[in-house]
C-alpha cells in the first residue's frame, strides 16, 4: 500500500515536472523526432537504420559511432534518473531491458513519452528481433528487413567457415586480472556466446555470469587464447604483463601472444556489427579464414 502510493506520488511528481517540457516541445514542432537512446548496442542499431541524426541524448555506454559521444550523456544505463532523461524532451525513448532502476523506467513510462524496450540477449535471433522492434518504432520496417537480411547472410558465411575448422581452441574471457583472482566469463554471458560463435570452447563453463576464476585452474587448463576488452588489457599493463603474470604467463595463450583484445562494444555488444566481430574473433582464433569482413 505504502509502496503503491509512494510510486503513485513519484509518477505524479514526475508528470508535473515533465508537463511544461512536453508542452514546450509540442508547441515547437509536432513532427520532430527526438530520440533518447539508452544502450550502446541500440544506438548502433539506430545508426545502422539511418536515424542517428534524430538522437538527442544517449547513455554512457553509447559510444559508437564516435559522433554520438558529442551528445549529452544522461548517465549509466543501469542507474538512470527520470529527470535527466525527460529533460531532453524526447519524443521516443529506446531503452535496453537492462535500463534501470525499474522505478525510474516506470516514472518515465508514466510521463507518457513512448518508450521501446527491445529484447535483450546474446544471439543472432535476439539481434534480429531488436532490429525489427526498433525499425518498427522508427517507421523503417523495410530498412530493418534489409539490415536483417544482410546480417543473416554474413553470419551464415561466417558460421559455415567456422564449422569447417578442425579444432576448437580453448578460450578464457577475462574481465579484469589486475588484483586478486581474475574475473572470468562463465556461461550466460556475451563473452561466452561470442566464444561459441567463433568456434572456440570456453574453459569456464561450470558457472554462469562473471566470477573470480581460480588461478591454479587457469594455469592447469592451458587455454589456447585469452580474450579481453582492450581497455582491460591496457589497465593490466598490456600483453607483456600477461606474459609476466605468475599464473596467466604459464598458459600457451600468453606464451604465444594469442590475446584477443578489442573494443568492448564491438566485441560484446551483439549489435549490428556482430558478423564483423565474430569474424574478427574467429580469424584471431583459427588464423586467416579469408572472411574479409573483419573491421576491428
Amino acid at each position: 500500500m505504502t509502496r503503491l502510493s509512494r510510486r503513485g506520488f513519484a509518477s505524479l511528481a514526475v508528470s508535473l515536472m515533465a508537463a511544461p517540457l512536453l508542452i514546450s516541445c509540442a508547441s515547437e514542432t509536432v513532427e520532430e523526432t527526438r530520440i533518447v537512446s539508452l544502450g550502446g548496442d541500440l544506438t548502433e542499431i539506430v545508426y545502422a537504420l539511418g536515424h542517428i541524426d534524430d538522437v538527442v541524448a544517449r547513455d554512457s555506454t553509447s559510444l559508437y559511432p564516435a559522433s554520438v559521444q558529442d551528445l549529452p550523456d544522461v548517465g549509466y544505463v543501469r542507474s538512470l534518473g527520470a529527470e535527466p532523461v525527460l529533460s531532453m524532451a524526447p519524443s521516443l525513448i529506446i531503452a535496453s531491458s537492462e535500463a534501470g532502476p525499474p522505478e525510474v523506467i516506470d516514472q518515465v513510462q508514466s510521463s507518457g513519452v513512448p518508450i521501446v524496450q527491445p529484447p535483450e540477449g546474446y544471439s543472432q535471433e535476439i539481434l534480429e528481433q531488436r532490429i525489427q522492434v526498433i525499425g518498427d518504432a522508427l517507421g523503417e520496417a523495410e530498412q530493418a528487413q534489409a539490415l536483417i537480411e544482410d546480417i543473416r547472410s554474413k553470419m551464415a558465411r561466417v558460421a559455415t567457415v567456422v564449422s569447417e575448422q578442425p579444432e576448437k581452441p580453448k578460450v578464457l574471457f577475462l574481465l579484469q586480472a589486475r588484483d586478486g583472482s581474475p574475473m572470468a566469463a562463465g556461461t550466460d554471458t556475451a563473452a561466452n556466446a561470442m566464444i561459441e560463435l567463433a568456434g572456440g570452447e570456453n574453459i569456464f563453463s561450470t558457472h554462469s555470469g562473471y566470477k573470480p576464476f581460480s588461478l591454479e585452474v587457469l594455469a592447469e587448463a592451458k587455454p589456447d587464447a585469452l580474450m579481453l576488452m582492450d581497455h582491460s588489457l591496457t589497465a593490466m599493463g598490456g600483453k607483456e604483463a600477461l606474459k609476466n603474470h605468475p599464473a596467466i604467463g604459464l598458459t600457451p595463450a600468453a606464451q604465444n601472444g594469442k590475446v584477443i583484445a578489442a573494443d568492448g562494444l564491438f566485441l560484446l555488444g551483439f549489435g549490428p556489427r556482430l558478423p564483423e566481430a565474430v569474424a574478427y574473433v574467429a580469424e584471431e582464433l583459427h588464423g586467416d579464414l579469408g572472411l574479409d569482413l573483419a573491421s576491428g
Binding site: 579484469q176 592447469e220 589497465a235 604483463a241 603474470h245 599464473a247
Partner: protein, 360 residues
C-alpha cells in the same frame, strides 16, 4: 614461615602459568603449521606433494632448470599464496591483539580505526579514475591499485591519529570516535565510486571490499610481506608493556613505561601492517577481532600469550578460510571475506553465549 610458604606458592603459580603458556602456544603453532601444509597441498589444480616439495626447493633457490606443469603451479601460485595468507593472518591477528590491548576494549579490531576501509576507498578511486590516465607507464599500472590502497589506508590512519591525539598524547575514546567517522567517510567514498564506475569497475571494487588471497606472484607481494613481517615482530616486543598498560596508564608510567611512545607505536604499527595487508588482499574481516578473543578464552589475558597466540591463530584461521574459498566453488573462487565472516561470526556468537560470564 608464612612468607616462605607464600613465596613457594607464587613460584608454583608462575611455573604453572609458564607451562600453560607453552602448551597454548605449542597447540597454536601446530594448528598454524597444519594450516600451512594444508594450504600447500589442497587446491583445485592437481598438484602433488612432490611438486610442492620441488616448488619449495625452487623458491629458495635450491633447484633450477626448466619448470612446467604442476610444479610451475606450485611454485608461482600456491607457495606465494600460502606465504601471503600466513603473513596476513599473522599481521591481522597481532594487530587486533595490540589494538584491543591499547584501547582496553575487546570490540576493537583494525577495521574499526578506519584503516581497512580507507585502503579500499584508495583502491576504488584508482580503479574508477586511474584507467583514464594514460601517462602511467605500462609496467607500473599493475601495481597502481595496490599503491593507492596503501596510500588510502595510511591517509585514514594519519587523520584518525591526528584527531585522536594532542601533542603526541593519545586519547583512546576520541580516537575510536574518529575511527568510526573515518569508516563512515570511506564508506560514502566507496559508494560514490560504485555509483561512478561501470560494470567491470564495480566488479573490480568488489574484490577490495570482500578480499582475496589470489594476488599471486612474489613481485606484487614481497614488499607487503616485508612490512607485515617487520611490523608484527616489532609489535611482539611490546607484549610485556601491554600487560602493564592493562593495569592502568598511570600505573604503567610509574613502573617505568614510556606510555606516550608505547601508545603511538600501538596505533601506528597495527595500522601500518593492516595497510600492507589490505593493499594486496583487500578487506578481510573478522580475523583481527576473533583471533585475540579465542586466545584469551583459551589461556587468559596475559599479552605474552595473547600477542603471539593471536598471530599464530590468525594465520591458521586465514589459511583454512582460504582453502575453503578456493575449493568449495572451484574453478570459481569465493571472496575470502565472505568465508571468514560466514565461519567467524556464528562461531563468535556461539562463544559469546557460552562464555557470557567471563570478562574479557
Amino acid at each position: 614461615m608464612v612468607d616462605l610458604a607464600r613465596s613457594i606458592s607464587v613460584a608454583d603459580l608462575a611455573s604453572q602459568a609458564d607451562q600453560s603458556r607453552r602448551l597454548t602456544l605449542g597447540l597454536l603453532s601446530i594448528f598454524a603449521g597444519l594450516a600451512v601444509i594444508g594450504s600447500l597441498i589442497i587446491g583445485p589444480a592437481n598438484v602433488g606433494l612432490i611438486d610442492v616439495w620441488n616448488g619449495i626447493l625452487r623458491t629458495f633457490g635450491l633447484r633450477s632448470g626448466p619448470v612446467s606443469g604442476a610444479e610451475a603451479i606450485a611454485t608461482s601460485i600456491r607457495i606465494p599464496r600460502t606465504f601471503l595468507g600466513l603473513f596476513c593472518g599473522m599481521a591481522l591477528g597481532i594487530s587486533g591483539a595490540a589494538l584491543q590491548g591499547l584501547f582496553r576494549n575487546p570490540l576493537v579490531d583494525p577495521q574499526l580505526i578506519g584503516v581497512s576501509s580507507g585502503g579500499a576507498f584508495g583502491a576504488a578511486f584508482w580503479i574508477v579514475f586511474g584507467s583514464s590516465l594514460t601517462f602511467i607507464p605500462l609496467a607500473l599500472s599493475g601495481f597502481m591499485t595496490a599503491l593507492f590502497a596503501f596510500a588510502g589506508a595510511l591517509t585514514a590512519m594519519t587523520l584518525v591519529y591526528q584527531l585522536g591525539s594532542r601533542r603526541g598524547h593519545v586519547s583512546v575514546a576520541t580516537m575510536l570516535l574518529a575511527g568510526i567517522a573515518m569508516n563512515a567517510l570511506a564508506a560514502a567514498g566507496l559508494g560514490l565510486m560504485l555509483f561512478l564506475g561501470d560494470d567491470a569497475q564495480m566488479r573490480a571494487i568488489n574484490f577490495w571490499t570482500l578480499g582475496s588471497l589470489g594476488t599471486a606472484g612474489w613481485a606484487k607481494i614481497w614488499s607487503a610481506l616485508l612490512i607485515m613481517g617487520a611490523g608484527s615482530a616489532w609489535l611482539l616486543r611490546d607484549m610485556r608493556a601491554l600487560n602493564l598498560l592493562a593495569v592502568g596508564e598511570a600505573e604503567a608510567k610509574h613502573l617505568g613505561c614510556d606510555t606516550r611512545a608505547l601508545k603511538r607505536r600501538l596505533v601506528v604499527l597495527p595500522a601500518l601492517v593492516t595497510a600492507a595487508a589490505v593493499s594486496v588482499t583487500g578487506i578481510i574481516g573478522f580475523i583481527g577481532l576473533v583471533a585475540p578473543h579465542l586466545v584469551r578464552l583459551m589461556a587468559g589475558s596475559d599479552h605474552r600469550i595473547v600477542m603471539p597466540g593471536a598471530a599464530l591463530l590468525g594465520a591458521g584461521l586465514l589459511l583454512v578460510s582460504d582453502i575453503v574459498a578456493r575449493t568449495i566453488t572451484a574453478p570459481a573462487e569465493l571472496p575470502i571475506g565472505i568465508v571468514t565472516s560466514l565461519i567467524g561470526a556464528p562461531f563468535f556468537i556461539w562463544l559469546l553465549s557460552r562464555y557470557r560470564g567471563i570478562s574479557l
